[in-house]
Symmetry: C2
Subunit: 200 residues, 2 copies
């Protein structure tokens, strides 16, 4: 082989990561070699610590190193408002926007009969428990507009029927900054359907 | 912050790598969390080993974990033919093609007055020593066609004057598979200058 074995081993690790092909893995491995020894040791410890300490919040299922995540622990948030998301990456996206002051519930998946993922395979029973303990909660279903997302949205809507809970979903429409020419047909259709009156 | 601190630390390490922005670093860090514990420990050791064991070949300057790299140690290669390259990444590129059976010399840089890099700052004296010990060697200057590459090529050509050495450089021209419409002017000019007669 053309790579020294130590470098090849490192390239192979980088190549396991999503979106990293052989060429990128080579580039990353070589760049890593330019870290100084202290940085390398820290990087190495960081990897182990992250794996060892990170788990899921007992309330909402978000990624955390605590029993209860900082969001569920924050008293000033509206704990009666729960934004239901597919995975914890979505929580980061909402938190970055800084506009949501409720809490989350991370399903850790979507219902997908094709992939043999049913309602019991996602983090749903804890959501029902949470809702049952709240008075007049609102849940926002923030699931992606795909078959799986819609199926999960519909399923949750159905099992919550008869409970004292307000259910909404995210608005569909034109993303800010988009060129209308490049939008797909379904987005245009949804944006028309959900059009908002702005005259008096 | 929206990230758990262990994840944030890992994101920060990935973000130090070239071409990895915040979004990619987040994606890589999260994917790393999906490695199992054994893989994480191995990744961690791999990082340390690569840093600790990799150095430069005493003959050619290529990246290696040995005193003399496997290429310089390979007896069946033509040790009278030396391909001079800017850095060890280029050696990998040549070795992948599998078409070169000589040896290499890694300059680890190019002469660049603007960046205050002179002939003494690159791995040149060892090249002269190597050449002086060979009989009728050929060196191929495989440096990139930029100002720095040309300056280094010219400098090496000059210091080797009067020595019994054949000097060549890589051919310039149209890369295989390229659309001629998209070629830059200088490549077209070089390809015309170096045109090859194919009639009898």
């Amino acid at each position: 082989m053309y790579y020294p074995k130590e470098l090849e081993a490192l390239i192979n690790y980088y190549a396991k990561l999503p979106g990293i092909g052989e060429k990128s893995a080579e580039r990353l491995a070589i760049a890593t070699m330019e870290f100084n020894e202290e940085e390398i040791n820290e990087f190495s410890e960081t990897l182990k610590n992250a794996k060892k300490n990170l788990g899921r919040c007992a309330i909402c299922g978000h990624l955390t190193s605590d029993e209860i995540c900082p969001i569920c622990s924050e008293e000033t948030r509206n704990h009666n408002l729960i934004c239901v998301v597919e995975d914890f990456r979505n929580v980061f996206a909402f938190e970055k926007s800084g506009k949501f002051k409720g809490t989350y519930h991370v399903l850790n998946g979507l219902i997908s009969p094709i992939d043999d993922i049913g309602p019991d395979d996602i983090n749903l029973s804890t959501l029902i428990n949470r809702i049952d303990k709240l008075e007049n909660p609102e849940i926002i279903l923030a699931l992606k507009p795909t078959i799986e997302g819609e199926a999960t949205t519909m399923y949750i809507k159905k099992i919550l029927e008869g409970k004292n809970v307000t259910i909404s979903r995210l608005a569909y429409g034109i993303p800010i900054g988009a060129e209308i020419d490049y939008l797909d047909n379904i987005t245009i259709e949804k944006a028309l359907e959900d059009r908002k009156k702005i005259s008096e």
